[in-house]
Amino acid sequence: MRRRVEENLVAYGFLSAALVCFAVFSWYPIARGAVLGFQQVDFVSDPTWVGWENFERLFADPLFATAWRNTLLFTALALVFGFVVPFLLAVVLNELKHFKAYFRLVVYLPVMLPPVVAALIWKWMYDPGPGLLNSALRGLGLDGAAWLDSADTSMLSLVIVATWANLGTATLIYLAALQSIPGDLYEAAELDGASVLRRLWHVTVPQTRFVLLVLLLLQIVATMQVFTEPYVMTGGGPEDSTVTVLLLLYRYAFYYNDFGTASALSLLLLLVLGAFTALYLRVTRKADA
């Protein structure tokens, strides 16, 4: 009995620092965030309860709808590029027996760059005049694009950067998953007369289904919180075409010091992302069991 008490004391001694950190920087902010959305908060006076007022202010803001539309566009484009391209790339790399180390190194190189650095490099590459992209296009006899300077292409330009910078992670995770597929499955499928595409669809995809699903959910949650690229590269422009939900949230909180309305927007974001996160947790827990 005494021994058990002593062991618990030791254990809680070991846990104490972590408990404090989690309490102050995770658990308390979670609870506080739920309340903040219904309060008027600034640094000057004490918070006051305002009910749904913050939400009403948000809904009245024309940028609110724009921000969600832009964010959904970003997420959709990011899924097309960031989900499909790494998978196909991994399938190709898995077939290649040469230069393996080089390929891994190269696709992962941009992942190591600070996102601000990647964004600033690309901002310069997108320059319609001396920028590398348009220079290369002109070299091929094509017209350049306005890239970040036009509302039509600005979001696509941001997605390209984000994909370029992050695709290495997904590619290497898929590659690891592909390598665990038993070779006899392909052999059996081939003996049954399945073509390469059919083998890809009926063997490769189902065998990696779990990893595909997990990364899909993670990517939705991550891309809907896009901030660095629009903040650094466009500041939300041109014509508000790259104002994302998080950029709007940042403006409410840190330009207008309206932390209540920013928190109301956080809660809406949580509502949307919570569904995907819950799904993700269910999927991974099932796999753990």
Binding site: V117, I121, L132, L172, T204, T284
Partner: protein, 279 residues
């Protein structure tokens, strides 16, 4: 090992695919980086020319030194290192004992605590931005690296990875040490940590890389320009800095992470699959 396409059949297409893949990946991922490194050595006038010169007409490698001085990069390097090393040290100091306690000492409510920690992973980071910022402000930790260190220590993923590793350590070794009269602290320090080198390497690299790459938290915490990290300072300088100097600054600030990657490649890539899920 047998993959999608049978080895015997690929001779014709294989070489073509290999060549195309090599060219495409090099052009997409290596060329832009080399382009930046080289372009930084052009003069500002040459850099503005359309179409751009591929090889600089006048090599001015001095831009690197000039950029370092102009933007006072030394200061921001030190600031960034203070943040990254602090995050690493505090995270290990806080999370290793916690994971050990949860894994081996199994205290009352231990499972509940782990569950509560993992719950924080469910929270999208953006949702906690404002309340966490206000909490940091309330504690008077704005413009103080301690804010980022402690924030980094509340990392459920690290606790989870460590705990899972500690769970798999052989019980006999720990029992033997216990019979020899070792206290828990000695066991953790003398036996568990040396056995846990692989996972400690992975967790360490994750912590340093994440801290170096982080942008939004340093942006929020360090409003004082003298305290800012490289990422925050560079985006602040970007609009008013001559392009060749800015590019040089970008290259310089990426060197440590690229270097780290080249040296610890194996660990970084191993961590990638340890951190993700098995298929």
């Amino acid at each position: 090992m047998r993959t999608l396409i049978a080895p015997g059949r690929r001779r014709a297409g294989y070489t073509i695919t290999l060549v195309i893949t090599t060219i495409v990946l090099t052009v997409v991922f290596v060329v832009p980086l080399l382009w930046v490194v080289v372009s930084a050595m052009k003069t500002a006038v040459e850099l503005a020319r359309v179409p751009p010169t591929i090889v600089p007409e006048t090599w001015t490698p001095g831009t690197y030194a000039e950029a370092w001085d102009l933007m006072d990069l030394g200061r921001y390097f030190v600031n960034t290192i203070v943040v990254a090393v602090g995050v690493w040290a505090v995270q290990l100091a806080v999370d290793v004992p916690a994971a050990y306690a949860l894994s081996r000492l199994k205290p009352v409510l231990g499972k509940g605590i782990l569950g509560m920690m993992l719950l924080t992973l469910m929270m999208p980071a953006a949702v906690l931005l404002v309340p966490t910022y206000l909490t940091i402000a309330d504690l008077g930790l704005l413009n103080n690296p301690l804010a980022l260190w402690l924030l980094g220590a509340a990392n459920a993923f690290t606790v989870f990875l460590l705990k899972r590793f500690f769970d798999q350590l052989p019980v006999e070794v720990l029992e033997a040490a216990r019979i020899d009269g070792a206290g828990q602290l000695t066991m953790l320090w003398r036996i568990v940590l040396p056995l846990s080198r692989p996972i400690l390497a992975v967790v360490s690299i994750f912590a340093v890389v994440a801290a170096w790459k982080d942008f939004i938290w340093p942006l929020l915490v360090f409003s004082d320009p003298a305290r800012q990290t490289l990422s925050v300072a560079l985006q602040r300088f970007a609009p008013d800095t001559p392009v060749n100097l800015l590019l040089a600054g970008l290259v310089l600030s990426s060197v440590p992470m690229i270097g780290l990657f080249l040296v610890f490649q194996r660990h970084v890539l191993a961590g990638l699959t340890a951190g993700s899920v098995k298929g």
